[in-house]
């Protein structure tokens, strides 16, 4: 079945191209303007948003401007192209390139010779100028469409740190990167993915820091993609990751330019996708998913404390409900007597076994969380009040669940939202459910087996060749300074070693400030 589908896809490549209504790449622009116009009108049948404007250059030569309404800056087009061409004194034989040099005052332009380029340029919002008796057309970089303003990213808030977030448009995003890293060593390579959507994808990296094999590998993986459309970077993420059957995200996605730049400076590759504020960073590690950009802006003591707190609560969000179930069901002797008595008395009226109780509560919590995301803002508040009342107060009073279970679920919920990257939080929250089953059947033994299986899985996966648990396993002592703790900046001399050994040091040695060192001037 699978093989057949692949064969069919390959055989119908030509047909697919036709379905997508793209001319063959070799079709040259004809000499006659009328012929070109006919072809283009044929391709753009029933496309009411395409505008054709024919006019005469210098009162004699026939010419045609084509653009898509709403994608191009028409004011600029009228002023710099149309009016200057129509009013200027231009002889019939003037070559297209000469026109740009003398008459048209548009800074970004391109000469195109094939119809395919023509279509591409029009779809991207660049008006195309076709001139009679000339085999070259001109494309002007006058794209302009409605963009969302740069806003603070919603999912990754910080107290201290830049508040800019990426937007949906690619050139805004690249400019955000370039504003932070001005060196020409920041390279951005353009690719197009998606048969219909022709989505622009940019691979950004810093030459000299990144391991070149990493770039080649990612480029090869991106080139392998053959899909009809890419609407979000999630498509790309799932198509290039190493272990598709793992619940853990192996590619980091972020909305923050500062996170992207920090990772670029550590030798990672950033993939920007047009149409989404979420960019991809590869390779990544589990630890990177548990770190926030703010860790690097706060004082190192605070960051270290917060990091450790985050690690503890990450483990809690994974284990707490199952530990509770195991204690209640199997290991009463581990609970101090007084606590056991108060727990037992609150569970007295509860008609369910601990496992069922935990499952009911956790699933309800997940439902509330999901509903909270989906509901319109006006209704959201009502739902959260009802949710809090129903799964908190009322459920306990009705004797359906015990109060300690509500506390456990609440702590688990809070703990899972402490993980700075939402996607990683979901992975860990999902794994909580099999863990609860193990705890309910085999007690602490089941939990241990679950932990071992999870750790084995984490040790197996790699992100673009980098082991997922670096720097803990394989242990890299030098990198623990930015994993277990967050050492002060003057100690973070070396970059993390990802795949190669290029450009190890990121700063001068001995930057530790000290009054005796003073400044250069003293």
């Amino acid at each position: 079945m699978n093989r057949n589908a692949r064969k069919w896809w390959r055989m119908n490549k030509q047909k697919l191209q036709q379905q997508q209504q793209m001319p063959e790449s070799s079709t040259q622009i004809a000499k006659e303007l009328a012929a070109n116009e006919a072809v283009l009108r044929e391709l753009y049948t029933n496309c009411t948003d395409v505008v054709y404007r024919s006019f005469l250059i210098g009162g004699s030569t026939k010419a045609l401007v084509i653009y898509i309404d709403g994608l191009s800056n028409t004011e600029e087009l009228d002023r710099s192209v149309l009016s200057s061409l129509m009013n200027g004194k231009i002889s019939k034989e003037t070559h297209a390139r000469k026109l740009v040099e003398k008459t048209i005052s548009v800074s970004k332009w391109r000469e195109i010779t094939t119809l395919e380029e023509c279509i591409e340029s029009i779809s991207n919002g660049c008006p195309v100028l076709l001139i009679d008796q000339q085999e070259a057309a001109l494309s002007f970089g006058l794209e302009k469409w409605e963009k969302r303003a740069i806003e603070e990213p919603v999912a990754e808030g910080v107290v201290r740190g830049p508040r800019e977030g990426f937007t949906e448009s690619l050139n805004v995003n690249t400019s955000l990167l370039r504003r932070l890293i001005k060196s020409p060593a920041l390279k951005m390579e353009l690719m197009q993915i998606g048969g219909y959507t022709k989505t622009k994808v940019i691979l950004a990296y810093i030459d000299g820091i990144v391991d070149p094999t990493l770039v080649t590998e990612l480029k090869a993986r991106l080139n392998r993609i053959d899909i009809d459309g890419v609407l979000e970077s999630g498509y790309i993420e799932e198509l290039i990751e190493d272990h598709p059957s793992s619940p853990f995200p192996q590619i980091l996605s972020t909305e923050r330019p500062d996170v992207a730049c920090g990772n670029l400076l550590e030798g990672r590759v950033v993939i920007l996708v047009d149409g989404t504020p979420f960019i991809l960073i590869a390779p990544t590690t589990l630890i990177a998913l548990l770190q926030s950009s703010e860790d690097y802006y706060q004082r190192s003591f605070a960051s270290t404390a917060i990091r450790l707190l985050r690690y503890v609560f990450t483990v809690m969000s994974f284990l707490l409900p199952s530990l509770y179930v195991a204690l209640i069901t199997f290991h009463h002797e581990m609970v101090p007597t007084s606590l056991l008595i108060s727990m037992a008395s609150s569970r007295e009226a509860v008609p369910f076994p601990a496992l069922v109780e935990a499952l009911i509560m956790e699933i309800t919590f997940e439902a509330l969380r999901e509903a909270g995301v989906r509901l319109p803002k006006q209704v959201g508040a009502a739902v959260s009040i009802v949710g809090a009342l129903v799964i908190g107060q009322a459920a306990v009073q009705a004797g359906l669940v015990s109060a300690p279970m509500v506390i456990v679920v609440a702590i688990t919920g809070i703990a899972s939202f402490m993980i700075p990257h939402y996607i990683a939080g979901i992975a860990i929250r999902l794994l909580r459910f099999p863990m609860m089953f193990l705890a309910g059947t085999l007690g602490l033994l089941g939990i241990m087996l679950g932990i071992i299986a999870t750790v084995v899985h984490l040790c197996t996966i790699r992100s673009v060749g980098v082991p997922y648990l670096t720097p803990f396993a394989p242990m890299k002592g030098k990198e623990l300074k930015d994993a277990l703790v967050r050492a002060p900046w003057w100690m973070l001399n070396t970059r993390p070693r990802l795949t190669g050994e290029s450009n190890m040091y990121r700063q001068a040695q001995g930057l530790k400030p000290d009054p005796s060192k003073g400044g250069d001037t003293s």
Partner: protein, 382 residues
């Protein structure tokens, strides 16, 4: 780095440190539960001395394994035994070694399951405990030696938690239990060392891992360190249970568990034996996966397979079956540990490799002198 697709066993490498940790787990994980009780029976209040004598055989075994590997680099015992003993005898030896490790893996799984069922999950069928553990280890073995090495690094610190918990019992420790030292001379401590030395000889399993070590020059040191580490752990644990329980230590099957049951800190942390059990499960997971891996990789080398992964699941079933076949109940497990294994283990894992090493030296010398002679004649001819 990017060879994900063509992950063959030849490409996987671990560091010497990772191998050392794996070996550390391979010896100590089951030793800490059972050995103190057996040692205590013979050595009474001198039981803390026995691991020191016992570790000597460990150092010897590490030396033998490393020398053999130096003589035949990039080969495991399955491969060089065929070079040393000839094709037929070598194959028979390899087959014997594979069955030895398969049997041992089964035994370890059985002993682990008896321990869990006997102490914690008294109403759970033993097959559930055995099969669940073998399934998890199969996952790790399928992942390959790199995964084993990484899990060992992660779990190492967890495995030391019981040692860190010991100071909480300082209040109930009595120093006078230590005395009189060597009341009956050294002989009881040697007798007490009989059982642990069998465990120390298990480090010969590093012969399967040596070809996979990336920094070869450090592998002998890593092996020596893991023997030393195990000796320290056993000594500390023996001292600890001696100070807590005195001469009674030998009367319990699992004295360490009993000692940890005494723990009570601030009326909140009590009965931490479940926690200790949890951590020992991790250690035993490492131990079983090392032995499991050795038997699987040995078989794949004997059969000349390119990939060992297809063998993992059938061997898992075999391991469970071996666990049932080899021993009828808990009594026989401890009888085997006390009476059979002290002879059986070192015989196969230290004495036999020593014979192999001597044979190999003799062969190599023969070859060298032969080569020298031909070189000499070549010289005179030219």
């Amino acid at each position: 780095m990017l060879e994900e697709g063509e992950k063959m066993q030849g490409n996987e490498k671990i560091s010497a440190g990772q191998m050392g940790l794996l070996m550390y787990f391979a010896i100590s994980a089951s030793a800490v539960t059972v050995v103190p009780g057996i040692t205590g029976k013979y050595a009474q209040n001198d039981l803390w001395l026995s691991p020191i004598w016992a570790s000597l055989i460990g150092y010897v075994t590490v030396y033998i394994a490393c020398r053999l590997h130096q003589l035949y680099p990039k080969q495991s015992i399955i491969q060089y035994s065929q070079t040393i003993l000839g094709s037929f005898l070598g194959k028979v030896t390899s087959l014997f070694f594979i069955f030895f490790y398969l049997h041992l893996t089964g035994l370890i799984v059985r002993a682990y399951a008896e321990f869990v069922v006997g102490n914690f999950l008294t109403r759970t069928p033993i097959s559930v405990v055995m099969i669940s553990m073998v399934m998890v280890t199969a996952l790790a073995v399928r992942g390959g030696v790199e995964v084993l090495g990484r899990t060992a690094q992660l779990f190492f610190f967890m495995f030391l938690i019981p040692v860190a918990l010991m100071p909480t019992l300082l209040g109930s420790m009595k120093l006078q239990y230590l005395f009189p030292i060597l009341e009956h001379g050294l002989k009881p401590t040697f007798l007490g060392a009989a059982s642990p030395q069998a465990w120390f000889s298990e480090i010969f399993i590093m012969a399967y891992f040596l070809p996979l070590v990336s920094n070869q020059e450090k592998s002998m040191r890593a092996g020596m360190w893991s023997v030393f580490g195990t000796m320290m752990l056993l000594t500390i644990i023996n001292v600890f249970i001696l100070l807590v329980m005195g001469r009674q230590a030998g009367d319990f099957l699992y004295p360490v568990m009993v000692a940890f049951r005494y723990i009570s800190v601030a009326d909140f942390f009590q009965n931490l034996d479940s926690v200790v059990m949890g951590i020992w499960i991790i250690g035993l997971f490492q131990k079983i996966s090392v032995f499991y891996y050795a038997s699987v990789i040995g078989t794949s080398q004997l059969l000349g397979l390119r990939d060992y992964r297809p063998l993992v699941l059938p061997f898992g079933i075999l391991v469970v079956i071996m666990g049932f076949w080899s021993i009828p109940d808990q009594l026989h497990v401890s009888a085997f540990d006390t009476f059979a294994f002290p002879f059986y283990g070192p015989l196969v894992q230290t004495v036999f490799p020593l014979l192999l090493l001597i044979l190999a030296f003799w062969q190599k010398r023969g070859q060298a002198s032969h080569a020298g002679r031909t070189a000499l004649t070549d010289d005179t001819n030219s």
